[in-house]
């Protein structure tokens, strides 16, 4: 069964079509990168798949559940880390994790295990007792992504997770994301082509709400006759290859 399947998914805002008849399948355990210039429809797609926004028409199925009909079942199995850091500013790192585990219905014992695991993946134990607002942007972003894992989702959406981070913090986050590969389905949107190249199993390229390409890197390079994701992306978006 596909982890995510969309059927002619469409979203209109007044006179703008943000997503235009998206047909896509993402397999369980896959890390799928969705690329596109600003306004391509990536974030709107994520918002629809995470049940935050209703589609205008079409449907999508997350682990077999419709985003229109089975929102509650979907919410129990997914999580999202949006572009902006999403943490409780006056709570410590530890309290943030505890709070989010409670929101996800985890028991005390489960919460302790999740905290241990999260500290190990993201190295957050160094700042566990610090209030989030005292942390650097990099640590806050790490926590923000760590919270998305606290509910142990089967499908994780990461919307530009490394936006605004310095190169060291970005590489650390890559390692954290890489360690999750195969354990859950991950949908990643990013403007950093090297990020997509390093992490993805498959890539989708969107422009003006339409999906121009879906496939692995080899297929993308063959199709565009290029040797890097960045060149292939530019060629696909500019020339519609």
């Amino acid at each position: 069964m596909a982890a995510i399947r969309t059927e002619k998914l469409r979203k209109e805002y007044k006179d703008t079509v943000a997503v235009d008849g998206l047909d896509l399948e993402i397999e369980e355990g896959e890390l799928f990168s969705l690329l596109g210039v600003n306004g391509a429809g990536k974030t709107t797609t994520i918002k629809m798949l995470t049940t935050l926004t209703e589609p205008t028409s079409g449907d999508a199925f997350i682990l077999g559940h419709s985003i229109k009909e089975d929102k509650k079942k979907i919410k129990e199995q997914i999580d999202v880390s949006m572009q902006q850091t999403a943490v409780a500013r006056n709570l410590s790192v530890d309290e943030n994790l505890e709070f989010y585990c409670r929101m996800r219905g985890k028991s005390k014992e489960e919460t302790e295990n999740i905290k241990k695991r999260t500290y190990q993946i993201f190295g957050l134990d160094k700042v566990a007792k610090k209030r989030t607002k005292q942390l650097s942007g990099g640590w806050q972003r790490k926590l923000s992504i760590a919270l998305a894992l606290a509910g142990e989702p089967k499908v994780l959406f990461l919307d530009e997770p490394t936006l605004g981070l310095d190169v060291i913090a970005r590489r650390e986050l890559w390692r954290a994301i890489e360690s999750l590969k195969g354990k859950m389905t991950i949908v990643l949107t990013t403007h950093y082509m090297e990020e997509a190249e390093a992490l993805s199993d498959r890539i989708g390229i969107m422009k003006d709400g339409k999906l121009l390409f879906v496939g692995d890197k080899t297929a993308l390079f063959e199709k565009t006759k290029t040797s890097s994701v960045e060149d292939a992306f530019i060629k696909t978006v500019e020339e519609g290859v």
Partner: protein, 250 residues
């Protein structure tokens, strides 16, 4: 239901920590009203009956509760503006759980306010201590719901930049229209009527009459209570409806 109540408890705890860990909220919710209670009593209580402790302490409690509007509204609007609330919308929590989390977080704050101000009033004027004080503390939770309701409405409706201005209307309205700070003799009857129709004076009067143990139960207690409750229900319901609409528009 059990899962929902656990989530409400988690939200309440988080909201309470967010508010109490901002020093400015402690200054306005507790420090400023406490300072005014002591200051006004010692300056004015021999000059005008308005500032005798039986009127002043309940009036200060109602005044301090108006700041609940500011801080609950501010927290809600900041949450709405950040991705934090979007993250929580992806959990199985429903909109009523979020609202309950904001409302319940403010009740312990209100409880601390009324206990602190009544005890301070009793220390300054020992004859003020009475069993009615306990009723006053409990009944002040009802009037607190009015100001929390305003906060829910403004927090759903406005962004964080607008909250300060809008909430200051409630705080000013509470100060001026409660009739706490000046004698009402000689004031235009129409103004008095407006003061009685709006919820600010009834909210202060309700606590005052509970504490003083008024015998005119209907006029002094039930009537202001009905006005306070009516405003609380209408304002909170409007806040919840607007919150739901905004949540769906995310």
């Amino acid at each position: 239901m059990k899962e929902a109540s656990k989530r409400i408890f988690a939200l309440t705890k988080r909201n309470l920590k967010e508010i109490l860990r901002e020093p400015v909220s402690l200054i306005f919710l507790l420090g400023l009203p406490l300072f005014l209670l002591v200051l006004f009593y010692y300056i004015f209580h021999n000059l005008t009956p308005q500032f005798e402790m039986q009127y002043l302490a309940p009036g200060i409690i109602a005044f301090s509760q108006a700041f609940l509007t500011l801080f609950v509204g501010l927290l809600m609007s900041m949450d709405r503006a950040s991705a934090f609330l979007i993250r929580l919308y992806v959990t199985p929590a429903g909109s009523y759980e979020f609202i309950a989390g904001y409302m319940l977080a403010m009740l312990p704050v209100s409880l601390v306010q009324s206990v602190l101000f009544f005890i301070t009033a009793g220390i300054i004027e020992p004859s003020f201590f009475s069993v009615n004080m306990i009723w006053g503390v409990l009944c002040s939770l009802i009037t607190a719901m009015l100001y929390i309701g305003f906060g829910i409405l403004f927090g759903s409706l406005c962004n964080e930049k607008a909250i300060g201005g809008i909430a200051s209307i409630v705080i000013s309205g509470q100060s001026v229209l409660s009739g706490m700070w000046f004698p009402l003799e000689g004031i235009n009857k129409n103004v008095i009527t407006v003061m009685n129709i709006l919820p600010f004076r009834p909210s202060a009067q309700f606590i005052q009459h509970i504490v003083s143990g008024s015998d005119a139960v209907f006029d002094d207690i039930i009537k202001p209570l009905i006005i306070v409750l009516a405003y609380t229900v209408v304002i909170t319901t409007a806040g919840i409806l607007i919150y739901n609409v905004k949540m769906k528009r995310q």
